[in-house]
């Protein structure tokens, strides 16, 4: 039998999709994503993450950063390592799953970004409730999504890759509607 090599591919072509009212929708490059599921005791995972990747274990709703690496709180008992391949020691402390091409990541950035997202998602997106560095698992136009605030005007939205085109469609339509209102 011939040997097969499977290569992860981004769900969407990378790059800027739309820019309106100074606000852009951009498909982010695919990065290595690993789900880390430690089970009832997350202690060993916290130690291994710090020792191997210089990352703390994020508290609910938050993100930890290190050089070239990021760790998201990703729901109950689940964390998402973004960037590096997980160090072998992590497998001792948690169940690891490669999620690299399972999610589509889109950046929504600009002065109207918050208003666009508010049309699609029930989160309180004001800075005092959802500050830069906050992350949430939530619903976006009926899709299960992960929303992370990357800056004062920036949001990274992730959905399952099967819904990637729908996400772009919804973001584009909401951005057009917000931009048509002009600057409020």
């Amino acid at each position: 039998m011939p040997e097969l090599t499977l290569i992860a591919q981004n769900a969407l072509p990378q790059g800027v999709v739309t820019t309106l009212a100074g606000t852009r929708v951009e498909v982010l490059p695919m990065r290595r994503l690993s789900a880390l599921m430690p089970g009832p005791d997350a202690g060993p995972l916290a130690e291994a993450l710090m020792a191997q990747h210089g990352l703390g274990l994020p508290a609910p709703g938050s993100v930890e950063h290190a050089e070239q690496a990021e760790c998201l709180w990703f729901g109950i008992g689940q964390y998402l390592l973004i960037g590096p391949a997980p160090a072998p020691d992590l497998a001792e402390a948690a169940t690891l799953t490669d999620q690299s091409d399972a999610w589509a990541s889109v950046l929504l950035e600009g002065p109207r970004a918050r208003h666009v997202l508010a049309r699609l998602c029930p989160l309180d997106l004001r800075a005092r409730a959802f500050a830069p560095g906050a992350t949430a698992r939530t619903e976006l136009a009926h899709m299960g999504a992960s929303v992370t605030r990357t800056g004062p005007d920036g949001f990274r939205v992730m959905v399952f890759r099967s819904m990637a085109e729908t996400l772009l469609h919804e973001l584009r339509a909401a951005l057009e509607a917000v931009a048509a209102r002009g600057m409020v």
Binding site: P60, G75, I76, P122, R137, E139, G144
Partner: protein
């Protein structure tokens, strides 16, 4: 209605799925009135009710929520894991 998730904070109802009344499961495997009650009979209280809600499009935790059915006021919510303590 909004529900408070112990992990995510106050969230919109559309992120949650109702998972039924929180009941005490009878002991033993012999059919009797207690099992009949547990499986088939439900109170329909006008007032405080204990029920399970899954935070399905949120953090995926199952919550034990105490709610007033007349006002939708949420009187308490905790992770169902560990008995809702």
């Amino acid at each position: 209605m909004r529900l408070t998730c112990p992990l995510c904070g106050e969230r919109d109802l559309r992120e949650f799925t109702y998972r039924g009344a929180a009941l005490t499961r009878p002991e033993g495997e012999t059919w009797g009135d207690d099992w009949h009650d547990y499986i088939h009979l439900r109170d329909n209280p006008a007032g405080e009710n204990r029920e399970y809600w899954a935070h399905s499009t949120g953090c995926a935790a199952v919550l034990l929520v105490t709610r007033d059915t007349r006002t939708h006021e949420v009187l308490g919510s905790a992770l169902a894991k560990g008995g809702g303590a």
